[in-house]
């Protein structure tokens, strides 16, 4: 299926906010989340919209987003080893980032809590609770078995049990 601009705009409007939310929850970094979300749609529009079916667009976008986010985490770890330390020394934390989270304490706490999970558990839990995807859909997005999705969701919940604000 080929998406024309109107159809693409519709997909963008529907999915872009939730993709940004997923990525920000996953990464804990708004700027990187928005960059990656934009990159996902850019790729989708330029190349994949010719081959991806309409009902698979959402899964495709989340799959690419998760992969790019993992790349970002790896790269930021590398940067953290030398450049990041230098930046930490010479630059104060960006105030706008702090202000953003101050606006919604609950959001900040939830995102911080999610960061303790391994990446694969975090992605699975977010897709389940935030995007309300079924186990089958999550398995499709992450290209893993349903059994693994089931186990990862349980482990993620169990790991966060004591951190949850009841």
């Amino acid at each position: 299926m080929t998406f024309d601009e109107e159809e693409f705009t519709q997909v963008f409007t529907e999915i872009y906010p939730s993709l940004c939310r997923f990525l920000e929850s996953f990464l804990g970094n708004r700027e990187a989340a928005q960059d990656i979300a934009q990159e996902c749609f850019m790729r989708f529009f330029r190349q994949e919209s010719n081959v991806v079916k309409a009902d698979e667009a959402r899964f495709w976008l989340f799959r690419v987003a998760r992969n790019l986010a993992l790349n970002e985490i790896r790269n930021s770890k590398k940067r953290g080893s030398f450049l990041g330390k230098i930046i930490e020394i010479f630059y104060a934390p960006r105030p706008d980032q702090a202000e953003i989270y101050e606006q919604d304490e609950a959001t900040r706490l939830a995102i911080e809590m999610l960061q303790v999970l391994p990446e694969h558990q975090r992605a699975v839990l977010l897709l389940r609770e935030q995007e309300e995807m079924s186990y089958q859909e999550i398995a499709q997005v992450l290209n893993v078995s349903e059994a693994k999705v089931k186990v990862d969701i349980f482990r993620a919940r169990k790991a966060l049990q004591k951190r949850v604000v009841v």
Binding site: E5, F8, T9, F12, T13, Y16, P17, C20, R21, E24, S25, R30, Q34, A37, Q38, F41, M42, F45, R46, Q47, S49, N50, I100, Q103, D104, A106, T107, L109, A110, I111, M113, L114, L125, L126, R128, E129, Q130, Y135, K150, I153, F154, R157, K158, L160, Q161, K162, V164, V165, V166
Partner: protein, 410 residues
């Protein structure tokens, strides 16, 4: 530590409505009796609420901007069949191939390294006035110096080694495929070279030492005079057209202003070598020649041979006579040929003890040596070729078969 209830995982599935009606009933019955699972259900549901509560403020203007940027960037054409690069691919591939081939040729033909490995053997040797640790590199133009307690070994490109003794100052002058050259200003070195002739040179203040595939030691004193002692093969000591070809077990000296002296075997008598020194470097003239001729043995024909060139005309006749046994030798038996020859055509004249077998052995060795430099001395390899008068003469002198001036083919 509290053990987890076996139903915990099913609580997770219950929260997600992933259980069959029968299982749902079973788990609910369990919940009534298990506080741990009840707590888990509460926590799982609370976690869900907490994650759902994550609110990212939307910036619709920014979203529109992103959308318009994406739409403006346009769709790319299907990969592989269109686009400028598609048509350029063969050209790019060819260009890449050429570049790779060019780089390969450059690497293959790269000049030899312009420096040699230096390994410290003892003490604290210095290269370019800096001390080296276990290993160092000697670059072209750099001086290597050893003090009274230090020694090093230099790898001469890939053709041999030079051991540098204490109190030595030496410099790398040149290293390329056709020439490797050191300059020994003072001190001592021991060289072992495994290469075709005339590849390795050592400049000294009074002569140049030219390798013919050999092992030798070389000492240069404070005045610039040198003493060459060949232990294997042949080495040439040369300066300004004057040359002394020195075989194994022989010495040759050189002095500033005189150049190479006359070679002599290491077992020559002290009087003989002193007289040679006087003749070569102290204008000993006829007096020195007298001593040389009186002290000479059959084996010292090596030295006499050089005197033919270097003596005055009147002395040359005496040297020649001595060499050809016309007079002056009382120990005639000393000049009897040994039981071998390289001249089979004269075997009959020499008597039954000379055999063709020996001659053939010599010839085979000669030819064999030409095939592999690493196995033979330079003479055996044939680096001194027939046609070079010294080749025949030196061999005849050694075997006592020199008989007349016609054997000299200058």
């Amino acid at each position: 530590m509290v053990m987890d209830c076996n139903y915990l995982e099913k609580i997770s599935l219950l929260v997600d409505d992933r259980l069959s009606p029968f299982e749902t009933e079973e788990v609910k019955n369990h919940l009534a009796v298990c506080a741990q699972c009840r707590a888990a259900e509460t926590n799982f549901l609370a976690l869900r609420r907490q994650i759902k509560a994550i609110q990212i403020p939307r910036d619709r203007a920014a979203e529109r901007k992103v959308l318009s940027e994406i739409l403006r960037s346009g769709k790319s054409k299907p990969a592989g069949t269109t686009g400028k690069l598609f048509y350029l691919r063969p050209a790019l591939a060819a260009a890449l191939l050429i570049v790779v081939a060019f780089i390969g040729i450059l690497i293959y033909n790269r000049p030899p390294q312009k420096s040699w490995d230096v390994a410290r053997l003892e003490g604290t040797p210095r290269i370019a006035e800096k001390g080296i640790n276990e290993n160092g590199r000697l670059k072209i133009g750099e001086w290597l110096e050893t003090d009274q307690s230090s020694r090093v070994q230099i790898a001469v490109a890939d053709i041999g080694q030079v051991e540098v003794e204490p109190e030595t100052r030496i410099r790398l002058v040149e290293t390329r495929s056709a020439e490797h050259r050191l300059e020994l200003e003072r001190g001592s070195i021991n060289a072992r070279i495994n290469a075709p002739p005339r590849l390795f040179f050592v400049n000294t203040p009074s002569a140049t030492v030219i390798d013919y595939g050999c092992a030798y030691s070389l000492n240069v004193d404070e005045e610039g005079g040198s003493v060459l002692h060949v232990t294997e093969g042949w080495v040439s000591l040369a300066l300004n057209g004057r040359e002394s070809l020195v075989p194994a077990s022989a010495y040759a000296k050189s002095r500033r202003g005189f150049g190479p002296g006359t070679p002599y075997f290491e077992d020559a008598s002290g009087e003989f070598t002193d007289a040679l020194t006087k003749f070569d470097f102290e204008n000993g003239g006829a007096t020195a020649i007298d001593v040389i001729l009186a002290e000479s043995r059959q084996r010292d024909a090596l030295s006499l041979w050089y005197l033919l060139e270097r003596a005055t005309e009147s002395d040359r006749a005496r040297v020649f006579d001595r060499l050809t046994r016309r007079r002056g030798f009382s120990e005639r038996r000393d000049f009897r040929p040994r039981n071998r020859t390289i001249f089979p055509d004269r075997a009959n004249e020499r008597g039954a003890h000379r055999t063709h077998r020996d001659a053939n052995f010599r010839r085979k060795s000669f030819n064999y040596g030409r095939r592999g430099y690493e196995r033979k001395s330079s003479f055996e390899r044939g680096d001194l070729r027939p046609g070079d008068g010294r080749f025949y003469a030196s061999r005849k002198l050694e075997y006592g078969s020199l008989e007349s001036s016609s054997d000299f083919a200058f």
